[in-house]
Subunit: 313 residues, 2 copies
Amino acid sequence: MALSDMTLAELLKEQQRLVDAALDRLTPPEEVRPHTIHKAMRYSLFAGGKRIRPVLCLQAAAAVSGRDPEAVPGAVVPRAVVPGAMDAGCALEMIHTYSLIHDDLPALDNDDYRRGKLTSHKVFGEAMAILAGDSLFTRAIQVLTRIEGLDAAARLALVDELSFASGTVDGMIGGQVTDIESERKPPTAELLHEIHAAKTGALLRASVRMGAICGGATPEQMDCISRYGEHIGMAFQIVDDILDVEESSAALGKTAGKDEAQGKITFPAVYGLERSREMAAEQCRLAHAALEIFGDAALRLHEIAEMIVYRKS
Amino acid sequence: MALSDMTLAELLKEQQRLVDAALDRLTPPEEVRPHTIHKAMRYSLFAGGKRIRPVLCLQAAAAVSGRDPEAVPGAVVPRAVVPGAMDAGCALEMIHTYSLIHDDLPALDNDDYRRGKLTSHKVFGEAMAILAGDSLFTRAIQVLTRIEGLDAAARLALVDELSFASGTVDGMIGGQVTDIESERKPPTAELLHEIHAAKTGALLRASVRMGAICGGATPEQMDCISRYGEHIGMAFQIVDDILDVEESSAALGKTAGKDEAQGKITFPAVYGLERSREMAAEQCRLAHAALEIFGDAALRLHEIAEMIVYRKS
């Protein structure tokens, strides 16, 4: 089947397979000493992630470069034809995985399961889970400094992008800290937006920006792809919060979801369910609008925005 | 007083002051949100570290470039005349501090005090201590990507050097993991060398190599400075282990030091005290020999090697 004939679901499945293969290539094997840490890194990396960040990185690279991997005549699998985009996507997935391992620790969210599997500290103990998170962060940076097919300036730009998106000021750790400190505080719209723009938004925005760096984006293209990233990031979080409420209503026959039980500040808590749904749809419209300059090359990015907003889980 | 007239102790005090000022400049102020994380980062950064890694970085830069900061006529304070060396040194100190914060956690070494001050998790709680460690790592990379006065290739080389020295394969985290797993195992010479070359050696080696990158080292200079770094790294750890035994003998009137109590594998345990002292002196001699090509520009590196081996605490 030609790639352009694939549905988004089929394409995602193909790209997830390619991302998994690349992550395997880029992570030290269990046979390398010290064995335990590489086992722990791999356990969490291959625990069923949807690889949304690598896919965003790959598709943003395709959109800005015009080198749509799906346009290759007769190709039977999607290919990362933009140099570096696959490895940059894997670095993003490593950072995402490190953040999940540390978030799940007893001192933080204290989760025993994630995606139906035991969390890292339940399998390897707390010490090794802390170090596995640290190691995935380190490995992500190593992957970027040694990426092939890009010059030093582009590689440095990728490291810069990823490290600031992961940091304390408007970045992932900053959002995590604000989130922890906001528990049991009155949920205000300002606080809500501050948390989510940083905690999940910064890394999603970096995903498309890093793809754009690999694709050699012009400043105008970079502006547009950044806005796309911000809008899908916001949509992603709004829908996550909505699903938490809806799933617990369906499953438990009552309204208290996990977020509410933990006193987390959420979009439904601040705006109500109906208004939250409208806001997600509005973010989706803005994401589409931001892609205009890319024309047909951004087809898959349009589809991903729809998928994020209208997913059921 | 001219710098060249300063004793090493006076020079170190001056350089520590400059490093502290640079760390202050390179770390987000407490006033920046989220306040707590920046407070926690600063608490551990300014908890009385000796700044040995930044000083090694500065002095290696001076040695390879021949631009000895102490040779400035009439200068009254040491200056980091090699572009980037001070910031690279601060990135090293941030990584070192992150590793101490995570090592001290209850799940790892469970230390309540370090250098007479409460450890991060005792002051800020475990969640914030984990995130403060993560943040210092992130900040170190950010510092290197934005370093002034160096081109993209040199900045990328610094990130590469630091991330591999911090990693799982022959790097800091790898040594930490091997150390944890070796507790209560029979102490063999092979295991001992593997742990220390990685756990403390890799970052000390990176300290002088990063200084050499800033100073524009030739391949031959880089080889020599790397050997110097390996020898002082080994000497540093041997002497650390010896001091642990001697201090506890003096203080407690018995022989069991903290290392022995924890079942840690040490040089005195494997080789005995007398042979360990000889080995430290031998590493010092090899460090001196590695500096030969630098002539007088490496005066302070010679003195630092002596200080490491003949220190009393």
